[in-house]
Structure formats: structure tokens, C-alpha cells
């Protein structure tokens, strides 16, 4: 295999009957995995379906499985993942495949809402804005998780999600944790209720794949551990 090209295997088709298809893609300097997929679509097969938007790691739409690892493809250089001139690219794990490399993100976003990952405001525009103490422990905890780009890499990496359809998953629980620690959010009771149900935070086995593969170096595992502590505390306060 020469360095002049990459041997790229792409899993194609709807879930269940995905067919691996091999493409030779010319190697270029500073080439990302997304560049490789785009080259195939633009030069070899225009029917290849994949999803991307910003190309700079902001929008969270281009995540795929690359050699068995969920990654944001726009910020992953092909030189970092290619093995012996070859690389295998597939649709994100744990989500239904629509076509080729495009997965249906609905279950992921539905769980985001089910985990109460929405703003719970009580003030109107006429009220003063809630004061935020930037140095407080709660704000530090919230800040640590708010840069999530909803790419679903953690969701694809999680074996608990793979084994339990009802499990909310790392990113939704991380968002629940940031809102729980947000001085502007008044949804504490609703959040704790949502994340302590049958699909909630107590399903997590602390395998840590979410934290290991988060492209933004966030730590959903610690957020889920925090939710476990808070839900337990709320449970004992209520007296069972």
C-alpha cells in the first residue's frame, strides 16, 4: 500500500444489511476523515449519504464510527486513524441507520428532552436575571459540561445504551447535571425525577467510554456520578 492513497472501507445501506464497500482515496496533507468521505461522494459515488455542516467541530453532526471508535470526523485527521493504509468507516453505533453513514438522531434528542434537558425558567422578561456566582462549586460543575455539541459520540460509545434501549445515555444526563447546577434553572425536582426513573442515571456501570471518547474532553461519567449522589440524597431526604 503506497502512502499516495488510503484504502477506505465504508459500511453502506440501511441497518441490518450494511454492505462494506472499498474505495481508494488519494492521500493529502492535513486530510480529515470527513474530507475522505466527501472525496468519495464528490469523485466516485454521489449516492453516498453522510451528514456534516460546520466542518470545525461546532455543530456535532458528522460523528461516525472510525475503526470501531466513535469520532467527530471533521476534527479527526486520517493520518491518526489509518492502519496499514486502511481505515473502516461506519454509521454511529446505538442509533437506527437511515442510509449509509446517516443515522436517525431522534432517539438521542428524545432522551435529551426525557432527561429534562430543557430550560426550566420561572421568571418573565420583566424580572431581573438570576445572579450567577461564577466561582461557586455548582457553577464550576455546570461550566464543566456545557460545551456539549450533541454529537452523540458518547451515546455511540456506551455499552449500557447498547444493552438497554430505555437508558437515557451520557449526553442527556450530562445536560441534566449542568441544569441541576445552573442558578438560572428552576427544574430541580423535575430533573431529579426524570433521571432517577428506570432509564435513568442509576443504570450507568461507570465503564467510562463516554468520557474516554468525548471529542470535547467533557466528562459525562462524573456528571452521572453526581446525579446518582443527588438523586440518592433527595430520596433519603424524602424519607424513602
Amino acid at each position: 500500500m503506497s502512502d499516495a492513497s488510503h484504502r477506505v472501507t465504508i459500511e453502506r445501506g440501511p441497518d441490518g444489511d450494511a454492505v462494506p464497500q472499498v474505495f481508494e482515496v488519494p492521500a493529502q496533507d492535513n486530510q480529515t476523515v470527513l474530507d475522505v468521505v466527501s472525496w468519495i461522494q464528490q469523485h466516485v459515488d454521489p449516492t453516498l449519504s453522510y451528514r456534516f455542516a460546520c466542518r470545525v467541530g461546532m455543530c456535532g453532526s458528522c460523528a461516525m464510527m472510525v475503526n470501531g471508535v466513535p469520532r467527530w470526523t471533521c476534527r479527526t485527521h486520517i493520518s491518526k486513524v489509518v492502519k496499514g493504509g486502511s481505515v473502516a468507516i461506519g454509521p454511529l453505533r446505538n442509533l437506527p441507520v437511515i442510509k449509509d453513514l446517516v443515522v436517525d438522531m431522534d432517539p438521542f434528542f428524545d432522551k435529551w428532552v426525557a432527561a429534562e434537558g430543557v430550560h426550566h425558567g420561572t421568571r418573565t422578561r420583566d424580572d431581573p436575571i438570576a445572579p450567577v456566582d461564577a466561582g461557586s462549586a455548582a457553577r464550576v460543575a455546570a461550566d464543566a459540561g456545557i460545551e456539549c455539541i450533541n454529537c452523540s459520540v458518547c451515546y455511540a460509545a456506551c455499552d449500557t445504551v447498547a444493552g438497554n434501549d430505555a437508558y437515557l445515555g451520557p449526553a442527556p444526563l450530562l445536560r441534566a447535571w449542568t441544569l441541576l447546577n445552573d442558578a438560572k434553572d428552576e427544574g430541580r425536582a423535575a430533573i431529579l425525577e426524570a433521571v432517577s426513573g428506570s432509564g435513568g442515571c442509576h443504570n450507568c456501570h461507570a465503564m467510562g467510554s463516554c468520557t474516554a471518547y468525548c471529542p470535547n474532553a467533557l466528562d459525562p461519567m462524573s456528571a452521572i456520578a453526581g446525579l446518582k449522589r443527588e438523586t440518592a440524597r433527595a430520596f433519603f431526604r424524602k424519607g424513602g
Binding site: G68, V69, A88, G90, G208, S209
Partner: protein, 117 residues
Amino acid sequence: MRAARGITSRAHPLWVAYVLHRLSGLALALFLPVHFYILSLALTDPARLDGFLSLSLGGAVKAAEVGLVFLLAVHMFGGLRLMALEWLPWQPAQKTVAAAATAVSFAIAVLFLLRAV
């Protein structure tokens, strides 16, 4: 092989710690009934128990015991690690804690081996 289902997405220390904890628990669950059966021989058939106890002085059984001590230790320290993870203030060095739990378990097993030989 489906890229989406490869094992590589799990090849990191905390996932290995998780599997080690589960497998050690399963192995101990299989061992315990045998353990209690052997103990029950003290009441039901002391002669057979004595026969087994003399067998347990052999090298193979000693080696198995070293494995058993490791399983017990790694399951206990792995469990303590998880309880600390879930109940104590968050500690960022989770990989180090998992590695320490395994290392201490290994040291205990080696100590048992040194005393056994």
C-alpha cells in the same frame, strides 16, 4: 467485520476495570456453592473432607487458590472503587484508582503465593 461493532471502542482502562469486576464476580458466584459444599462435608462426610483437605496441599490447588485470592481481592477493591466513585466527592483520577485497585489485588495474591510456597 462491522466497524460499528468492533471491540476497539472499549479498549480503555475503565472498561477493562468494569469487565474485570463483572467476571471476578461471576467466577466467585460459581466458586461459592462449591466452597459451601466442601464445608458441608464437615457435617455430612468428615472422611471425604479430610481427603479433600490433604488434596488441597498439592501445587495445582494452591495455584488455583492464588487465583481465587486475586478474584476476591480484585472484586472487593473494584467494588470499593465503584462505591467511592458514586458516593464520595468526585475524584478525576479514576484510571489511577482502578489501576491501584488492581495492583493492590495483585500484590495480595502474590503475598498469598509467597506464603503458600
